[in-house]
Symmetry: C2
Subunit: 151 residues, 2 copies
DNA sequence: GTCTCTAATGCAACGAGTCGCAATAAGGAA
DNA sequence: TTCCTTATTGCGACTCGTTGCATTAGAGAC
């Protein structure tokens, strides 16, 4: 509830209008701490505001992302996932083989952010990173299988 | 030309068939060192093999990516861009405001890769990273503009 | 060269997300 | 409270990329 008020204020402060469409997206985001797809958000929003158009949802999410209130990440599942901006940041290691996802701490990326700022004056959005690769289990699995493929 | 032969061999070695569709995608990739969108690849491929289906191109690109011969990156322009895997790797800093793109050296990400390997046994694909954020110029521009938005 | 197996293609339908434009409504001004 | 400006919405059409399935064609075996 407090979070919801905060979000509404941030919207108003940045000079944007508060529409029922935006407000309901905001409410849904504030109520769900975990990643949501646009489709899930649309479904939940329609529970309280039934005839809401999908473009409005996408546009609301784009605006919230621009304002830094929401993170928008492609976690490799064929659709983008949205989440309220959390403190401290966190990131994900995603295995391309088994899809397993490990959450990692922001500290691991902080050094990189500092280096980019120092060397290039570039302020990187390292809010919610998805790093793809191969997990420990799948690496050992892969080395066994590679023998078969030799034909 | 040598690069093209290498690619064909890698395909065969991994147990996949060499079709004219795949070969023409390979040829186009080998001839163009820079980023290409799927649409550009399709256009160039059709110059030599006119009735090629777009699914075949997408599937060929997906296979080449899986084999590590091609990098596939979303550089924030609304479509994915493809490029032959280059050594040494390189990455991009992309400004969300002005779209300016700076190429950076792999060395900056190498430490991160090592940390992830050490701490999690995770082998990250840090081949061709797109890091979004705000460039130096746009940061100073933004601080000026923020006064206007205070209403 | 011919046969056979099955990987790969072509096609058409689909899904996520975007865009242009006319209609609507938020919210400041009077 | 009413008016006015213009940001925002709804809608339908569109784009990029994916998928299921019947058909085609690589390439190893004979």
């Amino acid at each position: 509830m407090t979070r919801h008020v905060e979000l509404v204020q941030a919207l108003r402060r940045s000079g944007h209008r508060l529409t029922p469409q935006r407000e309901s997206v905001l409410t849904v985001m504030a109520e769900n701490a975990q990643h949501l797809t646009a489709e899930e958000i649309l479904a939940r929003v329609r529970a309280r505001y039934p005839y809401l158009n999908k473009s409005a949802v996408y546009r609301a999410l784009a605006l919230l992302t621009e304002l830094g209130l929401v993170n928008q990440t492609d976690l490799g599942r064929g659709r983008v996932e949205y989440e309220l901006h959390r403190h401290p940041h966190h990131h994900h290691l995603i295995c391309r083989r088994c899809q397993q996802m490990t959450q990692i701490d922001h500290a691991l990326l902080a050094t990189l952010g500092e280096k980019l700022a120092r060397d290039f004056g570039f302020q990187a959005d390292l809010d919610h990173f998805a790093i793809f690769g191969t997990c420990k289990k799948c690496q050992t699995r892969a080395s066994k299988h590679s023998k078969r493929h030799s034909h």
